[in-house]
């Protein structure tokens, strides 16, 4: 079922394979490893299902040509089931899909909120291997939800954690702002809740940035329209999930609303009565 993607790398329409290793990430998240040589760029995602109800886009957190991993946070029935998987259980994967982060020379600042930190690990590995300076901000509401810290520490980069109950006790955006005031950052790479990214963009002035978006997806391949953003219909599954500053600035829905399975708008903040 393999085929070549446009970059010439191996792409899998669908592969159903056994989980070979599970690493718990604190109480509410897990990393699931597979034996897979598929060629994933940092930021790209897989459509994942266990055939028990639902299929979701999940970013790849590890890919070294032999092992591939996804990191999942328990946020509901689907991700809860995934977090409870054991080695030997099957998952069905297709992809990788979507646009990757594009490494920019110079000091990189990576800002991850919650599970958004997962794709940033793959990016951090690549940036480090290219020899650039890398600072990572890993934020969560409570420290128990901070994940993948060990992986980042192992990369020998400038790694900071923050949560309401530990570390710098700042929001990840506030911590990023403090770093930006001291360091000459060439590009900011962020992944996490959309409101976090919305807050982040407001402090970035003229800095280049690349944000990875999470929106509801049904097909993952650009035809169902579920993840199309307003006003130009850019599809998070094809033109995204990673959008650069020029693309983000054109969005009218960013930080305002997303869409649910019906296509109805779900506002991030309560709307004033009209």
């Amino acid at each position: 079922m393999g085929e070549k993607n446009m970059a010439g790398g191996l792409r899998l329409e669908r592969v159903t394979q056994k989980i070979v290793k599970v690493e718990a990430q604190g109480p509410g998240a897990a990393t699931l490893f597979f034996e897979s040589a598929i060629d994933v760029r940092p930021g790209q995602f897989l459509m994942v299902t266990d055939y028990e109800g639902g299929e979701r886009p999940i970013s790849v957190s590890w890919a070294d040509g032999e092992l591939l991993a996804i990191t999942v946070k328990n946020m509901g029935p689907f991700s809860g089931r995934l977090c409870a998987k054991k080695p030997g259980d099957f998952l069905s994967l297709r992809g990788p899909f979507g646009t990757p982060f594009t490494p920019v020379p110079g000091h990189a600042l990576l800002v991850g909120g919650g599970c958004g930190i997962a794709p940033l690990h793959l990016l951090a590995r690549e940036l480090v291997s290219r020899g650039g300076a890398v600072t990572v901000v890993n934020g969560a509401r409570v420290s128990a939800d901070l994940i993948l810290g060990g992986w980042f520490r192992g990369l020998g980069l400038d790694y900071r954690e923050t949560s309401e109950d530990a570390g710098e006790r700042l929001t990840s955006v506030a911590l990023a702002e403090r770093i930006l005031s001291k360091e000459k950052i060439a590009c900011v790479y962020a992944a996490g809740p959309e409101l976090m990214m919305d807050a982040l963009r407001k402090i970035l002035k003229n800095l280049p940035y690349q944000f990875s978006f999470e929106r509801y997806m049904k097909c993952g391949v650009g035809i169902c329209g579920s993840c199309a953003c307003d006003p130009t219909g850019i599809r998070i599954c094809v033109e995204g999930p990673v959008l650069c500053r020029e693309q983000v600035e054109k969005l009218t829905d960013f930080g305002v609303y997303k869409r649910d399975a019906t296509g109805a708008r779900i506002h991030f903040r309560r709307q004033p009565a009209t």
Binding site: E13, R14, T16, Q17, M47, T49, Y51, G53, G54, E55, R56, F90, S92, K218, C219, G220, V221, G222, I223, C224, G225, S226, A228, C229, D230, P231, T232, G233, I234, R235, V238, D253, R259, D260, A261, T262, G263, A264, R265
Partner: protein, 307 residues
């Protein structure tokens, strides 16, 4: 001068390529995306009276001839859906076809009435989605009588042209097409997805699609679609939007020769990317230029035997 501009039911279109219902079309952004990709007429998702979440995933799977899918008619409902259409029309001069979906004449009439209060240019009656049969039984489009009844009701309720979208899963499709015309349909859309079909994941011995079956589309259905368009245009005098597996300019030209007035392109947007719309348009244009025709409206139709 060669041009892709064409006329359809009294409207001028910038291209004879149509975004079919169900592909993109969920929001004003996705309508605009389709428009920017080169479609001359864009269709909304099939709108029902109430919002529908559609099926849980997986809802699409590939195979050697294309894809099967079972989105399950997810849509935000007629009220929110028409707002998206109006928002699109506020920034675009491109006409929109509003697709509506119900299971009885009364609801279709209600949907049509509401669509007539929007900026829609045309209304398409989705009589043929194969993915909700468990819910609704055999597609309406399999019955001449039901098709005629619903089209008649929709026409009475509508100030706009009404297009009936029919199913390939009926041996007597040409007769059903004829019945739709006699009931007043202004045009037909042929064909909706085939089947549905099934694909199994042998590693876990489960159907790949969560809803088990999914409508078949893509290159697989092209020769069937072409034949049905050819047969039906031999039986009706109203225009036909031909769709089903068209992925190249040459296949679009085949559709025109088989009798289609416009050509829909759906699954190719996945299999070849959104750029395929411009590619197909370019292929049609080059054919017209090379063969000395000024417009798809002048393309000669395939000769008909005594069939």
């Amino acid at each position: 001068m060669v041009s892709l501009r064409t006329r359809f039911l009294g409207r001028e279109l910038s291209s004879p390529l149509v975004l079919p219902a169900g592909i993109l079309g969920m929001s004003y952004g996705s309508l605009r995306f389709a428009c920017d990709a080169g479609f001359g007429l864009v269709t909304s998702k099939s709108l029902s009276l109430e919002p529908r979440r559609g099926h849980e995933g997986p809802i699409v799977a590939r195979f050697g001839g294309g894809i099967i899918n079972s989105l399950g008619l997810c849509n935000p409902g007629i009220a929110a859906g028409l707002k998206e259409v109006d928002e699109f029309s506020a920034v675009s001069g491109s006409p929109v076809m509003v697709s509506v979906f119900a299971v009885n004449r009364g609801d279709f009439e209600e949907l049509v009435r509401r669509a007539c209060d929007s900026s829609a240019a045309f209304i398409e009656l989705n009589l043929s989605c194969p993915n909700v049969m468990d819910e609704f039984g055999i597609p309406l489009a399999a019955s001449k009588e039901l098709v005629a009844d619903i089209v008649e009701g929709a026409k009475k309720a509508s100030r706009l042209p009404v297009i009936a979208k029919l199913s390939p899963n009926a041996l007597e499709l040409p007769a059903i097409a004829r019945a739709a015309q006699e009931a007043g349909a202004d045009a037909l859309s042929l064909i909706n997805t085939l089947g549905p079909g099934l694909l199994i994941d042998t590693a876990v011995r489960r159907p790949i699609l969560a809803p088990c079956f999914g409508g078949i589309s893509g290159p697989a259905v092209f020769p069937l679609a072409l034949k049905l368009v050819y047969e039906c245009t031999g039986r009706v005098s109203i225009p036909v939007i031909g769709m089903g597996g068209v992925s190249t300019g040459d296949e679009a030209v085949q559709m025109f020769m088989a009798g289609a007035s416009l050509v829909g392109v759906g699954t190719a947007v996945w299999l070849s990317g959104a750029g395929v719309v411009a590619e197909i348009a370019k292929g049609i244009w080059e054919y017209l230029e090379r063969e000395g025709f000024s417009s798809v409206m002048n393309l000669p139709k395939l000769e008909r035997g005594n069939g």
